[in-house]
C-alpha cells in the first residue's frame, strides 16, 4: 500500500480547561492557593460532607461570561447546575457540579493566526461552561493513593471547539492565542507550570483515495498540560492513525469506537487507555442544592463593558499607531504587562525605535533572566528616554546597548549614564573637523587613491570614516563624519 497515493486531511477539535483567577473556590469560600500545605484549603463544602450547601461565586460566573463574550459566544440568559457522576477520591462528593445542557456560552468563534501569522483561521466555539475542578491523587507512596483536596472545587472554564483545526500547528496556535486572551481578560493566570490550562484534543483523519473518502476513528488525547505536548501529541496521532489505516482498512470510524489515549511525553507516543465506555455513564441531573442563574441585559452589558480591548485588536492598533510590524507588535503583546509598559514608554519616547529595542536587546535581557520585559524593573520613563536618544542619533548602536546593560543595574536616567561613560556622540564641528583632519593626515595613501581612482572613492570613504570613529573613541556621529569626509574629498578633487 503506497502511502503517497492517498490524500490526508486531519480534523482536530479541542477541549480546554482554564482555571479562573478567583481568590476563592466556585462553591465555597476556601482560598485558591497554589502549593499550599496539603488539605489546608478545605472546608465541609469542598470535602463533600453531608448536609452542606454550595453557594456560587459571582466573580467566577462573571469571568466565565466575560471570556464567552470575548469568544463571540451567545450568552445563555438562563443556566442551571447539573451533577455529573464521578467516582474518584479526588472529588469526594462522588459528583462534579457542572453545566450540562445549558452552558453559559455557546455558538462562538475565535480567529487564530495560522501559517506564521499571515492568515487566520476561524474556529467555531461549540460551548463554554463553568464547572468545579477535582483535587489531586498522588501515587508516590507504595500501596496507597494520597489525596490532597486543596484544588477540589476550584473554578474551571471548559471551552469546547468544533473540529475546525486542520493541523498540529493550528491547534498549537489556538492554544497560545487562547492563553493570551484569558490573561488579557484577567480571568486566568493561565500558567502551564501550575496546571492552570489543560488540553484534550480530538483527532481523526479523512483519507481520500480518488473520489472515495475514509475516516479514521476519533481519538481523544487526555490531559495535556503544555502547548508543546499539544502539538507533539496531535502530530503523533495523525501519523499513527494514517499508519493504522494503511495496515488495516477496517480502521475506520464506522467500525471502531472512539478511543481515549494518554500522551507519554518522554517517549513521544500516545498510548491506548483501556476502554471505559461502561464507566462513562455520567447520569447528569439538575443539582437541587443550587438555584439557576439568570442574566438580564443590565448585568450582561456591565460584563460586556469589562471585556476591553482584545489582544488582536490591540495588535493592529499598536502596529498602526506606533509604526511597528504586525509580528513585532505580536511579540510585544505576548505579555500584557510588557505591552502596557511599551505603551507608557512610547508616550515618552520614539515608538518605532522603542519597538526595535523591545524586540532586540530588551527581549534578549528578559530571556536571559527568564522573565518578561515588564519584569526587568526598568520604568517606562527611562525606556522611552533611551529610545529618544537613539532616534536622535546622540548615541550610536553600541553605546545604546552599553547604556541598556547599565540601566539594568541602576536607576539613573540613560542620559546620565551616557554622560558618565562618555558615550554621547560628539557633533561639535570644530572637534569633528580636527578628527577628520587627523585621519586624513595619518592615511595619505588612502586619500590619494580615492582622488586618483573614483572607483575606489566609496571604499576609501568607508575606511576613513572608520578611522575617524577610532580616533574619536566611537564618540563621533558616523553620519556627520561621512558627510564631512565626502565634502573634504570633493574639495580636494577640486
Amino acid at each position: 500500500m503506497q502511502r503517497s497515493q492517498f490524500k490526508y486531511r486531519p480534523i482536530i477539535g479541542l477541549e480546554i480547561h482554564v482555571q479562573l483567577a478567583t481568590r476563592t473556590k466556585l462553591f465555597c469560600s476556601c482560598p485558591v492557593v497554589f502549593g499550599a500545605e496539603p488539605n489546608s484549603c478545605v472546608c465541609p463544602v469542598c470535602l463533600g460532607m453531608p448536609g452542606v450547601l454550595p453557594v456560587m461565586n459571582r466573580q467566577a460566573y462573571e469571568f466565565s461570561v466575560r471570556t464567552a463574550i470575548a469568544l463571540n459566544c451567545q450568552i445563555a440568559p438562563f443556566t442551571k447546575w447539573d451533577r455529573k457522576s464521578y467516582y474518584y477520591p479526588d472529588l469526594p462528593k462522588n459528583y462534579q457540579i457542572s453545566q450540562y445542557d445549558l452552558p453559559l456560552g455557546f455558538d462562538g468563534a475565535f480567529d487564530v493566526p495560522v501559517d506564521g501569522g499571515g492568515e487566520s483561521r476561524r474556529v467555531r466555539i461549540r460551548r463554554a461552561h463553568l464547572e468545579e475542578d477535582a483535587g489531586k491523587n498522588l501515587h508516590e507512596t507504595p500501596g496507597i493513593t494520597q489525596v490532597d483536596l486543596n484544588r477540589t472545587g476550584t473554578p474551571l472554564l471548559e471551552i469546547v471547539t468544533e473540529p475546525d483545526l486542520a493541523s498540529a500547528d493550528e491547534a498549537y496556535s489556538f492554544c497560545v492565542e487562547l492563553q493570551k486572551l484569558v490573561t488579557y481578560l484577567g480571568v486566568s493566570e493561565a500558567s502551564m507550570q501550575k496546571g492552570q490550562m489543560r488540553f484534550e484534543p480530538n483527532i481523526n483523519v479523512v483519507i481520500a483515495d480518488g473520489d472515495r473518502e475514509y475516516r479514521t476513528p476519533i481519538s481523544e488525547v487526555k490531559n495535556l498540560n503544555s502547548f508543546r505536548s499539544v502539538r507533539n501529541a496531535i502530530a503523533y496521532e495523525i501519523e499513527r492513525q494514517i499508519n493504522d489505516w494503511l495496515a488495516d482498512r477496517d480502521y475506520v470510524i464506522d467500525k471502531r469506537s472512539k478511543e481515549n489515549r494518554g500522551w507519554d511525553d518522554n517517549r513521544g507516543v500516545t498510548e491506548f487507555q483501556r476502554g471505559k465506555e461502561e464507566a462513562h455513564d455520567y447520569r447528569y441531573f439538575p443539582d437541587p442544592d443550587l438555584v439557576p442563574v439568570e442574566i438580564d441585559d443590565t448585568w450582561l452589558e456591565r460584563i460586556r463593558a469589562s471585556v476591553g480591548e482584545l489582544p488582536r485588536e490591540r495588535q493592529s492598533r499598536m502596529a498602526r499607531s506606533y509604526g511597528l510590524t504586525e509580528s513585532d507588535a505580536a511579540t510585544i503583546l505576548s505579555d500584557k504587562a510588557t505591552a502596557d509598559l511599551f505603551e507608557q514608554a512610547a508616550s515618552a519616547g520614539h515608538p518605532p525605535t522603542l519597538g526595535k529595542q523591545f524586540i532586540s536587546f530588551w527581549s534578549a535581557k528578559a530571556n536571559e533572566r527568564k522573565v518578561a520585559i515588564a519584569a526587568l524593573g526598568i520604568d517606562a520613563e527611562r525606556l522611552g528616554q533611551l529610545s529618544l536618544m537613539t532616534a536622535d542619533g546622540i548615541i550610536n548602536a553600541t553605546a545604546t546597548a552599553t547604556i541598556a546593560e547599565k540601566m539594568l543595574a541602576c536607576t539613573d536616567p540613560p542620559r546620565t549614564i551616557a554622560e558618565t561613560e562618555g558615550l554621547l556622540q560628539v557633533r561639535d564641528e570644530g572637534q569633528m573637523n580636527a578628527w577628520v583632519d587627523q585621519a586624513f593626515a595619518a592615511n595619505e595613501q588612502a586619500v590619494r587613491d580615492a582622488l586618483a581612482n573614483p572607483k575606489k572613492m566609496q571604499q576609501a570613504r568607508g575606511f576613513l570614516t572608520g578611522q575617524v570613529m577610532k580616533i574619536s573613541g566611537g564618540q563621533a556621529d558616523p553620519k556627520i563624519v561621512g558627510k564631512m569626509i565626502t565634502e573634504k574629498l570633493a574639495n580636494m578633487a577640486g
Binding site: H17, R23, T24, S29, C30, P31, E37, P38, N39, S40, C41, V42, C43, P44, L47, V55, M56, N57, R58, Q59, A60, K80, S85, Y86, Y87, Y88, P89, L91, N94, Q96, E132, A134, N137, L138, H139, T141, G143, I144, T145, Q146, V147, D148, L149, L156, R198, E200, K222, N223, R274, K276, E278, A279, D281, R283, P288, L290, V291, P292, V293, E294
Partner: protein, 101 residues
C-alpha cells in the same frame, strides 16, 4: 411491572458507584428499587401538558456570594474523620486508572 429495575441494572449501577453488593443484595435492591420506581410512576398520571419544564423547585435564582476568602479547616480537622491518613493526605486504596474531570 412498569419501570422495573432488573438485577442486571442493579449490578451496572453498583459498578458505576464502585460498590460490590452480594447476590442476595442485588436481588433485594432490585425489588426495592422497582417498588420505589413504581411509586414514582404515579406522577405520570398528572396531566402536565401545559406545564413548562423546570429544573428547580424554588422560585429563586442568582444566589451568589462575593469572592472573599473565608476560613478553612486545618489539615488535622479535615483529616479527623478519615479512615486512614498519610502525613497530611487522605490515604485511600491505590487508584489504578482514572478519568479526568
Amino acid at each position: 411491572m412498569a419501570g422495573a429495575i432488573s438485577e442486571e441494572e442493579v449490578r451496572h449501577i453498583s459498578m458505576l458507584a464502585r460498590l460490590k453488593p452480594s447476590d442476595e443484595e442485588v436481588h433485594r435492591f432490585s425489588e426495592q428499587l422497582s417498588a420505589i420506581l413504581a411509586y414514582m410512576e404515579q406522577l405520570n398520571e398528572v396531566d402536565t401538558t401545559d406545564v413548562p419544564p423546570t429544573a428547580h423547585a424554588l422560585p429563586v435564582h442568582n444566589v451568589f456570594r462575593d469572592d472573599r476568602p473565608g476560613s478553612s479547616l486545618s489539615p488535622d480537622q479535615a483529616l479527623a474523620n478519615a479512615p486512614q491518613r498519610d502525613d497530611n493526605f487522605f490515604a485511600v486504596p491505590k487508584v489504578l486508572e482514572q478519568d479526568s474531570v
